[in-house]
């Protein structure tokens, strides 16, 4: 075993500049990969939170508003309201529905704009009553929206998905972009490991030939190369884990969590999982190219 470690160490020393290049490439690509994983987790957390809060609001006709389903100057009738409520309740996607009266809407308006100059600009009668609908699965909103938006007495249906979906589309693009870029970099890093090991094996081909001749086992011949590439990969993974930890601490713990308290943020357990993932990827990406690169020197 001492001989194996000595060989691995001398290999690392001989290829110091290449090893450094591999470590740096691994570090950057694994940090990006880890950041992509954490970003994905953060997007999921935000999505769960926001989608969970989303409700569809069906604003009813009042005399001050115009709409395709409204009679001008008329509030929605009780019969219309009952028909709308029945339609909502009978829709299989509806989890919960409640009626917000004009007075309740007015109270909420006063609460939101308390102290503001527009607080006194509206009266109860100018407020719109509405049905607030909570869905079983917030992602399946289209059926209900299209069903009730054409019903008599409904002025318009407000659906927050219209605003949130583009945000999540961009966030998703961002996370997949990050992961995609890191995958490319990781591929480059693994090719670099393969080349480094191939060069190291070529430099030691005479020794390898003698080892094969005197009956050294394949694992014994390969072990110093595996240790070399594992060393570079694990060092890269450790640096990437440090970078992720620093990123989490300075960006999330110190800033985001402080300034945006109402949102759920990724924590140390998520970072731990990302670090484990990053280390696992680093190990696989170092072993596989090493096995391929040394294959021809092990052929018996």
């Amino acid at each position: 075993m001492r001989h194996t470690f000595a060989e691995a160490f001398s290999g690392l020393r001989r290829n110091a500049s290449m090893t450094l290049a591999v470590v740096v490439t691994m570090w950057v690509s694994l940090s990006l990969f880890g950041a992509g994983l954490l970003a994905a987790r953060q997007v999921d957390l935000l999505k769960d939170r926001w989608y969970d809060k989303i409700e569809i609001s069906a604003f009813l006709c009042v005399k001050d508003v115009k709409g395709d389903n409204c009679d001008t100057g008329q509030d929605a009738t009780d019969a219309e309201k009952a028909a709308i409520l029945t339609a909502i309740q009978q829709n299989p996607e509806t989890q919960d529905v409640f009626y917000e009266s004009k007075q309740q809407a007015f109270d909420q308006f006063k609460q939101v704009f308390a102290g503001s100059s527009i607080e006194d600009s509206l009266t109860v009668d100018q407020m719109q009553d509405s049905y607030r609908i909570k869905l079983k699965n917030p992602a399946n909103y289209q059926g209900l929206v299209s069903e009730i938006s054409t019903m008599k007495g409904v002025q318009f249906v407000q659906d927050l998905h219209v605003y949130l979906d583009p945000i999540f589309t961009w966030l998703n693009a961002l996370r997949w972009g990050t992961i995609g870029m890191s995958v490319l970099l990781l591929l480059a890093a693994s090719l670099q490991i393969g080349n480094t090991i191939r060069m190291a094996a070529f430099a030691r081909r005479r020794e390898l030939g003698i080892m094969r001749l005197v009956g050294a086992s394949n694992i014994y011949i390969m072990l110093p190369f595996l240790l070399e590439s594992l060393f570079a990969a694990v060092l890269g993974a450790a640096l990437a884990s440090g970078t992720l930890a620093a990123g989490l601490y300075f960006v999330i713990v110190q800033n985001a969590q402080v300034s945006l308290k109402g949102l759920r943020w990724i924590g140390w357990s998520d970072a731990g999982l990302a670090m484990a993932g990053v280390t696992g990827v680093a190990i696989v990406l170092s072993i596989v190219p090493t096995l391929i690169a040394t294959r021809r020197y092990l052929r018996v």
Partner: protein, 228 residues
């Protein structure tokens, strides 16, 4: 110790057989010269014993085992029973004489206590006592070949294969190397040596197997180089 049963070897992409229907047996403790022109199949014969190649047809037995069927992971075990010496010595230039010989034991996992004991013994056997700290470049050709023989013999193999071991040496040095190989053979090690050196073959009067175009054309007890 070594048995070829109707062995043929055709290399990939070649029409002509490097070895054709070779059948022979080498007994334990025998000393055999393999002679023939370049391309006659001598090296192929030796490489089949080492299982560097697999026979295209027939069976090769080494120490009673059919090595044609040997799985790849068992080949290192086979090679630990066979010592090999080449014309170009194949020493590691950065390692001392002691380290070169010890290397063969280190890489098969022998404990350092064994290495410390066996390596100096073997160096003494090959006539290199006191030269363990030298680098190969500081030695003469004959001495370098002695190091190679020490490395091949340090694990006390049952078979020693020598491919033109005197090819790079002057006649006087060659005699010294042959004496060493003879000594190893007397210690019950089977020796198979491919050579072009007629003087040595004629002088040693051991079994001579002559190959021509991959076929055995002569198998002679106490033979000479050129006679039929």
């Amino acid at each position: 110790m070594i048995r070829f049963e109707d062995v043929s070897k055709v290399y990939e992409g070649q029409q002509r057989a490097a070895l054709k229907n070779v059948t022979l047996e080498v007994e334990k403790g025998e000393f055999v010269f393999l002679v023939g022109t370049s391309g006659s199949g001598k090296s192929t014969f030796l490489r089949l014993i080492l299982r560097e190649y697999r026979a295209t047809r027939g069976h090769v037995y080494v120490a009673g085992k059919d090595i044609s069927k040997l799985p790849a992971w068992k080949i290192p075990g086979l090679r630990r029973q066979i010592g090999t010496v080449f014309q170009d010595f194949r020493l590691l230039p950065g390692k001392t004489v002691h380290e070169n010989v010890a290397f063969a034991l280190q890489v098969i996992g022998k404990p350092s206590s064994v290495i410390k004991k066996v390596v100096p013994e073997t160096l003494e056997l090959v006539g290199l006592a006191g030269k363990g700290d030298r680098l190969p470049e500081e030695l003469s050709g004959g001495e370098q070949q002695r190091v190679a023989i020490a490395r091949a013999f340090v694990n006390r193999p049952r078979i020693l294969i020598a491919d033109e071991p005197t090819g790079n040496l002057d006649p006087a040095t060659s005699v010294g190397i042959m004496k060493l190989l003879d000594r190893i053979n007397r210690a019950d090690t089977t020796v198979v040596m491919a050579t072009h050196d007629s003087a040595i073959v004629d002088q040693m009067r051991k079994r001579v197997i002559e190959l021509d175009a991959g076929q055995i054309v002569r198998d002679q007890v106490k033979g000479v180089y050129g006679a039929r």
